[in-house]
Symmetry: none
Subunit: 212 residues, 2 copies
DNA sequence: CAACAGTGTTTCCTATAGGCAACAAAATCG
DNA sequence: CGATTTTGTTGCCTATAGGAAACACTGTTG
């Protein structure tokens, strides 16, 4: 009295109600999230019940996710990440069984990074072809012109190195006086300490940023 | 508590979407995926309809996601990531309220680094006041003019990011063809793979290097 | 300024995600 | 060994995600 797994059904004979409007997603990889989650859970020697308690997700739901019976909601994914201490890069990237990656290389031409805008910054992410990397480099135009544009401190894990490519700016940090940086200056700081940049030159300042 | 996503600073939003059952974890981070998606879409100057076609997600669904009315399914998130070229897995990661201390900061003025000359490179080490750091940043003039100046491959642990500050040069790597880099270009590679730089411009090229 | 073409939002409805509870299969205990 | 606990896997049901279409707005154009 059991029906086939739903998503299989879906693949097979779900043509009548065609809603596939473009072929963009044709090449979408399976990306076995379920197996990944299971591997991570087992690696921590947790039972479904324990994982359930840590994440706040029902035991049954976890089972279904691990067996690829359902596609979890983003809120659930967040709970998993949070509760199991999963590093999201792994979740999104492919197996890559090997230990330390060997001979990878990724070239990013000027202006060819992936844009990532925010109200105060215009980031351009570099080396986005590589997934499992220790550092995240990006080039940024600092649009902010006043410290007041930041509703609160920017603050996150890790350490950050910044290098001023052009223009001048003020580096505000939580525990220090603001300091003016000019072209060629650089700074290294803990990201857990609140920080923010404000352009002071005629043109918006450009910085190179690397986070780890 | 720092639960701001990496590049995100944003106005406060209300709806934390409460799950009434698992009261174990009362509050769940907002993590405004919606605003992020909207920002990315707008940065690419796409309408909802265009984004819909690229991602294969219904226009209405996109609208709801951007307005935080629903929590998208993982398959939908995948489609978004794929169709809009979103990278940055760490974008989604919630910096765990880790006990990483640290309010360190180190400013290095232009030219004020610690010189470290070699036959082929003139390194200037940056942020040398800080000792226990994850990354080692330095600015380098590439004196080498011929690959033959390197008796053997440079090779060491970790990963390296390099950004061309001025001039042009050739990046030789063990497993790839040499590639020419110009001002503003960047590269990321595994250091265990042999690598070497050679200036090709009239003046010696200058690069910014970060190792981790 | 009416007819129109595009935008983003909202409504309606179906498909499905997720929790609870019943279940089967091991594992543990008596 | 049977009884009990603990494991992971289903039914079942409700809450909700997601698609199509209607809608409300805003420009355009003749």
């Amino acid at each position: 009295m059991n029906e086939e797994p739903r998503f299989l059904r879906d693949e097979k004979l779900k043509t009548p109600r065609i809603t596939r409007r473009s072929a963009t997603e044709a090449t979408l990889q399976p990306l076995q999230l379920g197996k990944r989650v299971r591997a991570i859970r087992l690696s921590q020697k947790l039972t479904l019940e324990e994982a359930s308690q840590r994440t706040g997700v029902a035991r049954s739901t976890l089972s279904k996710i691990e067996n690829e019976l359902i596609s979890p909601t983003f809120t659930i994914v967040q709970k998993l990440v949070h509760g199991l201490g999963i590093d999201i890069p792994q979740l999104f990237s492919q197996p890559r069984a090997g230990a330390t990656p060997g001979g990878r290389r990724d070239i990013t031409r000027r202006g060819a990074g992936k844009p990532h805008p925010t109200p105060t910054y215009a980031h351009e992410l570099l080396a986005t072809e590589l997934t499992q990397k220790k550092m995240v480099p990006f080039r940024t135009e600092v649009h902010a012109r006043d410290f007041a544009e930041y509703p609160e401190w920017i603050r996150h894990e890790g350490e950050e190195f910044l290098f001023v490519l052009s223009g001048t700016l003020l580096l505000y940090t939580e525990f220090y006086e603001p300091v003016e940086l000019q072209e060629g200056d650089s700074a290294y700081y803990d990201c857990t300490m609140g920080h923010a940049l404000v352009s002071t030159s005629a043109r918006d300042a450009e910085v190179l940023w690397v986070t780890a």
